[in-house]
């Protein structure tokens, strides 16, 4: 167990240079992109004097390495900075919007992985055969469908034509709702965005689980298991599944970070008031501190998710050694 502690400690230390690198790259990329936040602060009717005054006030007129040093100094004190436009700190803004994103991402992510893996394993069990072909083809089709397109399609069918789900938002605003009624209202609004986001990650896991299960079934130890006279179910669930799930766990870790950035399209289409909609708004107005803050938050999430993934993999597979 002490190996595990040491491993976790070392990996946590490794996150520090990683985050630093990401912060540096983000900072440069964000500032390299064309556009000028001073224009948004000064407005259409501003003259060059006003723009210069604003650039000076916010430090946009300093060389980029000085701006980076200032930002880094703040960051080391645990300060993500202050939004150029909104009268709030970046941390305040992120924390305000995070719950809505988690509410959307968590069910979509868990359902996507669980259902995807189940369907994939099911298809592998039927391999080769018609069921497997159907599952493979439809997961390929779902994988290729763009999220925003799928979201719009669902809105048009279920909100406009059938009128069973609302087309946008997290709650209905016309009537005040309390308690259970309020929770049901959120669930009702949650359905279409969750399906959209789930459709984005589910096919990956179907294909992954299917491919790795089929591969494992062909291994020599499966032949041994059969030769021992084990029943089909025991062979499948105890020997095959445990081995075939390793790639799924690794990919699930990777998706943890991707799903945060992937939700930007879903949140935009459904006007879901989450963190990604904040990112969208801050990109449009060149609110650098908010952009960098969200990018750093996502980086941290991915790094931590990777760490957890490695540990889970080690627990699942005795061949994996933590060093």
């Amino acid at each position: 167990l002490s190996t595990l502690y040491r491993y976790v400690g070392r990996r946590l230390l490794e996150i520090v240079p990683l985050v630093f690198a990401v912060v540096a790259i983000n900072f440069v990329l964000v500032h390299l992109a064309p556009g000028d936040p001073a224009l948004f602060l000064a407005g259409e009717n501003s003259n060059s004097e006003q723009l210069a005054a604003i650039r000076h006030k916010y430090g946009f007129d300093q060389p980029i390495y000085m701006q980076f040093a200032t930002y880094l100094a703040l960051l080391l004190r645990g300060d993500l900075g202050y939004s150029y436009f909104q009268s709030k700190t970046v941390l305040q803004l992120i924390l305000e919007r995070l719950p809505a994103t988690l509410l959307l991402v968590f069910p979509a992510y868990t359902l996507g992985i669980l259902l995807g893996t189940l369907i994939g394993v099911f298809a592998a069990k039927k391999y080769p055969g018609k069921t497997d072909t159907v599952v493979s083809l439809s997961s390929m089709a779902a994988y290729s469908a763009p999220t925003f397109w799928l979201g719009m399609l669902l809105i048009l069918i279920f909100a406009r034509d059938l009128r069973i789900f609302p087309s946008f938002g997290i709650t209905s605003l016309t009537a005040e709702k309390q308690g259970l009624e309020y929770a049901l209202d959120i669930g009702w609004h949650l359905f279409l965005p969750v399906v959209t986001l789930m459709a984005w990650c589910l096919p990956t896991f179907v294909r992954l689980a299917r491919a790795s299960t089929i591969e494992v079934m062909r291994e020599d130890f499966m032949l041994t298991a059969r030769a021992k006279g084990l029943s089909d179910n025991v062979i499948f669930f105890k020997h095959a599944l445990r081995n075939s799930l390793l790639p799924t766990v690794t990919t699930a870790g990777l998706y943890m970070g991707m799903i945060f950035s992937g939700a930007i399209l879903t949140e935009t289409v459904f006007a879901w008031p989450g963190m990604d909609l904040l990112l969208y708004h801050s990109i449009a107005t060149r609110d650098y501190p908010v952009m960098s803050g969200i990018f750093m938050f996502t980086t941290l999430c991915v790094a931590l998710a990777m760490l957890i993934t490695d540990i889970v993999c080690a627990l699942l597979d005795p061949r994996v050694v933590l060093k």
């Binding site: 556009g35 501003s46 436009f85 919007r97 946008f168 935009t268 006007a271 008031p273 909609l277 969208y280």
Partner: protein, 581 residues
């Protein structure tokens, strides 16, 4: 028998009253606004703060206009009406302006509004170089002789000050008692405002919505609606669907590009309003770069770009092709300066003259066309590129660029050849920003001392006839120099559910106060007791016109059915009585 006859007559009388009731109802609905209800208005971008004086925030307009007031108000971009000031006068040299303020105005927290608030706001904006500093930086001194009088002393003449203060960029007056001695940016009222406007702030859920509630003590009378919710919907398709399903009540023009208007016409539940915009779509030339430093090339483009075709293909005929050097329908537009019709031969001739003959491959020269992503400009650019290919000009498109990128490329780095652009040109003052030598939105980098002189002469007079004369002359010079020309007159499309009336864009119902929702009312509302008498008068004076024919058919058929039924009942009863006897 007599009893049945009486019953029959009663029914007949009642039924005959039905058409009257039907006729009166729709007319009455138009005449008497009802109180109550909630309007959900979509906004494509959420504002950053609720204090528009700190920095420019293009999307605070809707929310801010309903919570705050300014000194004056410019209706429909042209007519100046009172807002917080009921009267204003200027000294002959336009360096001293005095505003008389309404006495019965209170802030949403109950404190009286006075001239000290006006003085505090203007001085505060100048101290932080906040939004509208461009206007207020010329204010040297502010006097408040009594609580309801404010005098501004300017360091230079400005005959337009009252207009500048009233335009829709909004110069809100802030409460001194809330902001005094604090940092505006961190003051809680920057996010939870206290204003003087028709609606009070209620709630702001970040990234989701802002709720305003009716201000019962609004000095112009309580607004009709109980609440307005500004709901953030970034995606246009989602917003359209939400309007169709009735989840939202109104969709402002930011969402609707002319090409998408036809899909909403013919839906009785949705009312579409089309209004001319003061920012027409224009072609700007980079005068500092060849070949556009040559006026012959610019004139060739004027002939070689078919404005009628652009209007048809890029704007589905909703935005008419421009005909003059200024806004269609404005009394400031010089009718003698008329843009020529499309003429390919003329364009080719001018390019030959300019020294750009067709080369062996049929082309004359290559250039680039830059545009932002707004106002249907990318569509217009594609049509223009096709048209210019016909006269041998090979154009590469740069865009669509977002607002910030476009401005820094075209105005910052001057890195463009020619552009499809827009920009508000509702007045000579705005035209000076776009084409004066020091104008900060001067895309062509145009500089003509004669034009500059005429602009400054306009600034120092208030006589409309003289202003018109100077401005006519400017348009003549612009047509000769041709640093730019108008392409189409842009139209804004607004939509709302038909059960809401008096939206800011329905000028004839709302009085044309842009962005202000105090006159909006909902057909599902209820009349207040004070409104009953007005409603009754409206009913009796109502002229029964414009009632759909199906009302009459329905009523006639109903009448016949009732009569037959009555006769049948009477006859059957009579037979029964006869049998029993």
């Amino acid at each position: 028998m007599r009893k049945y006859l009486a019953l029959f007559l009663c029914i007949l009388t009642l039924v005959s009253m039905l058409p009257v009731a039907l006729i009166v109802r729709p007319v009455k609905a138009q005449l008497s606004p009802l109180y109550g209800g909630t309007l959900i208005n979509a906004v494509p971008v959420m504002p950053n703060t609720f204090n528009g004086a700190i920095a420019y925030d293009g999307y605070l307009l809707y929310e801010e206009w309903n919570v705050f007031d300014q000194l004056t108000h410019l209706v429909n971009g042209t007519v100046l009406v009172p807002d917080l000031a009921y009267d204003w006068t200027a000294s002959p040299d336009f360096k001293q302006w005095t505003f008389q303020l309404y006495h019965n105005v209170t802030w949403h927290d109950g404190v009286n509004f006075t001239s000290a608030d006006v003085k505090y706001t203007i001085e505060g904006i100048n101290a932080i170089q906040g939004y509208r500093y461009d206007i207020f930086q010329n204010v040297l001194k502010i006097d408040t002789p009594d609580p309801y009088t404010v005098t501004l002393y300017l360091n230079q003449s400005n005959s337009h000050l009252a207009y500048d203060l009233g335009d829709w960029y909004m110069a809100p007056i802030l409460p001194k008692h809330i902001f005094e001695g604090t940092d505006w940016k961190t003051n809680p009222a920057t996010m939870k405002p206290i204003g003087t406007g028709p609606f009070k702030f209620s709630e702001w859920v970040s990234g989701d919505h802002i709720t305003l509630v009716a201000n019962d003590n609004y000095f112009r009378g309580r607004p009709y609606l109980d609440r307005i919710i500004f709901r953030y919907i970034p995606d246009y398709t989602t917003a359209f669907t939400a309007l169709e399903t009735g989840e939202i009540g109104a969709l402002p023009s930011d969402y609707i590009e002319p090409l998408s208007i036809p899909q909403f016409l013919g839906n009785p539940a949705i009312s579409v309003s089309i209004r001319p915009d003061i920012g027409p779509i224009v072609i700007n030339f980079n005068l500092k770069k060849p070949p556009f430093d040559n006026v012959l090339v610019r004139r060739a483009f004027l002939y070689g770009i078919d404005r009628v075709e652009v209007s048809k293909r890029a704007y589905a005929n909703w935005c008419p092709p421009s005909e003059n050097m200024f806004l269609r329908g404005s009394d400031l537009t010089n009718p003698a300066v008329v843009l020529p019709a499309y003429n390919q031969t003329m364009a080719e001739k001018l390019l030959d003259q300019a020294g750009y003959p067709r080369k062996a491959d049929g082309t004359r020269f290559s250039t680039t066309l830059t545009s932002s992503s707004y106002g249907g400009e990318p569509d217009a650019a594609q049509v223009i590129i096709e048209q210019l290919a016909r006269i041998g000009v090979k154009v590469t498109y740069v865009g669509p660029l977002d607002f910030s990128t476009y401005i820094s490329k075209v105005l910052g780095k001057r890195d463009f050849d020619f552009s499809v652009s827009d920009g508000n040109r509702g007045s000579p003052a705005q035209e000076q920003i776009l084409l004066g030598t020091t104008g900060y939105r001067n895309e062509p980098q145009y500089s003509n001392p004669e034009v500059d002189k005429l602009f400054s002469e306009i600034r120092s007079t208030a006589d409309p006839a003289q202003i018109r004369q100077y401005f006519y002359k400017i348009q003549e010079i612009l047509y000769t120099d041709l640093p730019m020309f108008l392409l189409v007159d842009y139209m804004d499309a607004f939509m709302n559910r038909a059960d809401f009336h008096g939206l800011p864009w329905q000028y004839e119902l709302s009085g044309g106060r842009d962005f202000i929702y105090s006159k909006v009312w909902w057909t599902g509302g209820t009349p207040l007791s004070t409104m009953t008498t007005t409603a009754a008068t409206a009913t009796t004076t109502a002229v029964p016109t414009g009632v759909p024919a199906e009302y009459f058919y329905t009523v006639t058929i109903a009448l016949i059915v009732v009569i037959i039924a009555a006769i049948y009942i009477v006859a059957r009863n009579r037979a029964r009585t006869r049998r029993s006897s």
